[in-house]
């Protein structure tokens, strides 16, 4: 008998060979949606019933919310992807054979991300992140243009090196834990690691964290290690940009936070929070300035992802109930908004036939519905009220100001610089003189609107159970 925790891994895993074998791309797209729906149902079932722990799987408040978020965005993206890819087939940019491969890889990615999230084992989690990296590398290169190959190659090399260093960190953690917990699987499980944290050797633990930070930090896209991120987002198919930004970055950050929990339990280890604050601020400020010089619309939002992952990392680095709460909310809001924006950007790029910002101005004249959708997305990601991101940024700024006034100045400056860039671009794209082609849009706007509605609701009124839930996770993070 498999429970819901196993099901979120098994369903996509079964779908991989199935989708690879389906030759009709319409059927493939429907099966892809079906598999995502089933996974979402299984993830929702996690909310009810007992969660037995084992040495391989664990379900607690922290990962349950990320699993539901991941499967939900995976589900909406699969719907968007079906309409998006029908258009790509029509204009001959992709062939049905490639779509078989694409759908199989999509499910492999979902399987790997869910495995990384439910794993109670640092080795299994590493495997999840590695498979997720490999499957996205394949999808980024799928258009086979020189740019796409360059992006995939860069992503492959940087991602593999990052993941290699993370593996070395994982081995070090095992070595430390082995002395206290004993040989074998228990020495790699999260709950036992956290429980025995005070007894672990602090120096070795600190060394391990440096490797883990560089390794998983590369996957999060933190500032000195971010080089793969804009290329991978810009050159791959748009649904993949949406899941990369909305989900994979979160999974990597989740891994870092789990390790942070272990180190937080050991007072003699290095101060992880300070390092995360530094990296987070650096990513925020760097990405905010880089936003001004982007000419490619997907690259623009890729840099915005670096900015927001920086903000979330900064929040978790500050720690404490309020900042952690803000960080969790920020992660959630960013997932929903950014994938929603990529849905809109995908439609814009298709109706205009290009990703160059200069060539896609004035969509409010040619495609009013799309323009409204896109503007709401950008307003939400820029952190304006009444959307949910305003709440998380406001909480973060106020809690930082109370504790570290100087840092809060840098934080606010970074936020404002990024805000300015986004609003500037929004003006050009939405209200400029209409240029370029104007094909009628033929895709469904529903997934993007659903995401933005959720963000709007979260901004206006966060339901009590959700607040309680975030609060308990924030306490867990310390």
């Amino acid at each position: 008998m498999i429970g819901p925790a196993e099901a979120v891994i098994v369903i996509p895993a079964v779908a991989v060979p199935l989708l690879a074998g389906v030759s009709s791309y319409r059927l493939g797209a429907s099966l892809n949606i079906l598999a995502c729906t089933l996974t979402l149902v299984a993830a929702t079932a996690l909310l009810f019933g007992e969660h037995p722990r084992s040495n391989l799987l664990i379900i607690d408040d922290f990962n349950i919310f990320l699993i539901i978020l991941t499967t939900f965005v995976g589900f909406t993206t699969s719907i968007f992807s079906a309409t998006y890819l029908a258009h790509e087939i029509e204009i001959g940019r992709l062939t049905p054979l490639f779509l078989r491969f694409y759908h199989a890889m999509y499910q492999a990615l979902m399987c790997a991300m869910n495995a990384a999230l439910v794993a109670n084992n640092i080795g299994l989690m590493w495997v999840g992140v590695e498979v997720a990296t490999l499957s996205t590398v394949m999808m980024v290169g799928i258009y086979r243009t020189p740019e796409a190959i360059e992006a995939a190659w860069k992503y492959f090399i940087l991602g593999s090196v990052g993941i290699g260093l993370a593996f070395f960190g994982t081995i070090l953690i095992y070595l430390v834990a082995q002395d206290v917990v004993g040989d074998g699987l228990p020495a790699m499980s999260w709950d036992l690691l956290v429980k025995s944290a005070p007894m672990l050797d602090p120096k070795l633990l600190s060394l391990a964290f440096v490797f883990l930070l560089v390794g998983y930090g590369t996957k999060v896209g933190l500032a000195p290690f971010h080089a793969w991120l804009p290329d991978a987002h810009a050159e791959g198919p748009t649904p993949i940009s949406a899941v990369l930004s909305g989900l994979l970055l979160n999974v990597a950050l989740y891994a870092l936070l789990r390790f942070k929990m272990v180190l937080a339990g050991n007072p003699a280890a290095i101060n992880v929070g300070a390092i995360m604050v530094g990296l987070g601020l650096m990513s925020l400020v760097f990405a905010a300035f880089m936003l001004y010089r982007r000419r490619d619309i997907k690259r623009l939002f890729a840099y915005s992802s670096i900015e927001h992952m920086g903000i979330a990392t900064f929040a978790f680095g500050m720690g404490g109930p309020l900042a952690n709460f803000a960080g969790l909310l920020h992660m959630t809001m960013h997932s929903l908004i950014k994938s929603g924006i990529f849905f809109a950007v995908g439609h814009i790029a298709q109706v205009k036939g290009t990703q160059r910002i200069a060539a896609i101005s004035g969509i409010s004249v040619t495609h009013p519905v799309l323009a409204v959708l896109f503007s709401f997305g950008v307003i939400a990601i820029a952190g304006l009220p009444p959307f949910g991101m305003f709440t998380s940024e406001f909480m973060l700024v106020s809690s930082t100001f109370a504790r570290q006034p100087i840092l809060s100045i840098v934080l606010v400056a970074g936020l404002l610089v990024g805000f300015g860039a986004l609003i500037l671009r929004l003006q050009d794209i939405v209200f400029g003189d209409p240029t370029g082609k104007a094909h009628p849009a033929q895709a469904s706007y529903v997934p993007a609107y659903v995401h933005l509605m959720l963000v709007l609701i979260a901004g206006l009124w966060l339901p009590e159970p959700v607040v309680e839930w975030f609060r308990s996770v924030a306490a867990l993070l310390g």
Binding site: F156, T170, D183
Partner: protein, 221 residues
């Protein structure tokens, strides 16, 4: 456990490190591949030795995979690729051999210093880890200093050798060894199947610097 057992383990790990240095100064692609094959065979010996010392028979599987796949199958395939693509010529290096070797020495010193704290756990584990970390860092260095897609892949696989050395040196580490070997095979195949051929197809070269033309934003915009 007698000291001789550990001495042999260190001899094998040290051999891998020497071969990592040998990889750094090779200037022909075929030679790079051959040195890598020898390093993989050394890795499989080292893993087999660990299986014996730790009384962990499952490590034999890891050793066999390293021997067959990394020692023979992948090098043979790489040789075929360079023959078919006619790229026997010399490898372009970003910085000269001498400087690369000096940097490599620095990295070895760095890895010895980095794993210093492990000494309080076990002196033998510390030395194993220092070797493994040095192999990993030299693999990284090789990826940075070579411009050719195939040598970059070899650099990555050499890095992976270091990872497996570290994982097998950690006593009783579960699950990860087998999986990581499976991944190194997977990665190698992805690289052959997808990238090498696509890069060749599009650019008539496997020289990665040709990719640099497309760096960043499209300037013709």
């Amino acid at each position: 456990m007698s000291k001789l057992w550990f001495d042999i383990a260190h001899l094998l790990a040290g051999g891998m490190l020497v071969l990592s240095f040998a990889l750094l100064y090779q200037d022909r692609i075929a030679a790079v591949i051959n040195v890598f094959a020898v390093q993989a065979i050394m890795l499989s010996l080292s893993v087999a030795w660990q299986a014996l010392v730790q009384d962990a028979p499952h490590l034999i599987v890891t050793a066999a995979i390293a021997l067959v796949v990394k020692g023979f199958v992948i090098p043979t395939a790489l040789h075929q690729i360079i023959r078919r693509l006619e790229i026997h010529r010399e490898v372009e290096q970003v910085i000269g051999s001498g400087l690369t070797m000096l940097t490599g020495l620095g990295l070895v010193a760095l890895s010895i210093l980095l794993v210093q704290p492990v000494g309080e756990v076990s002196i033998y584990v510390r030395e194993d880890l220092a070797f493994a970390l040095a192999v990993i860092l030299l693999g990284l260095l090789m990826m940075i200093t070579r411009r050719n897609a195939i040598t970059q892949v070899v650099g990555f696989m050499s890095l992976e050798n270091g990872l497996i050395l570290a994982a097998t040196g950690a006593k009783g580490m579960p699950l990860v060894v087998e999986i990581s070997v499976a991944f190194s095979i997977l990665i190698a195949f992805i690289v052959f199947g997808v990238f090498v051929f696509r890069i060749r197809e599009r650019f008539d070269t496997v020289d990665v610097s040709a990719l640099d033309r497309f760096r960043g934003e499209r300037r013709d915009a």
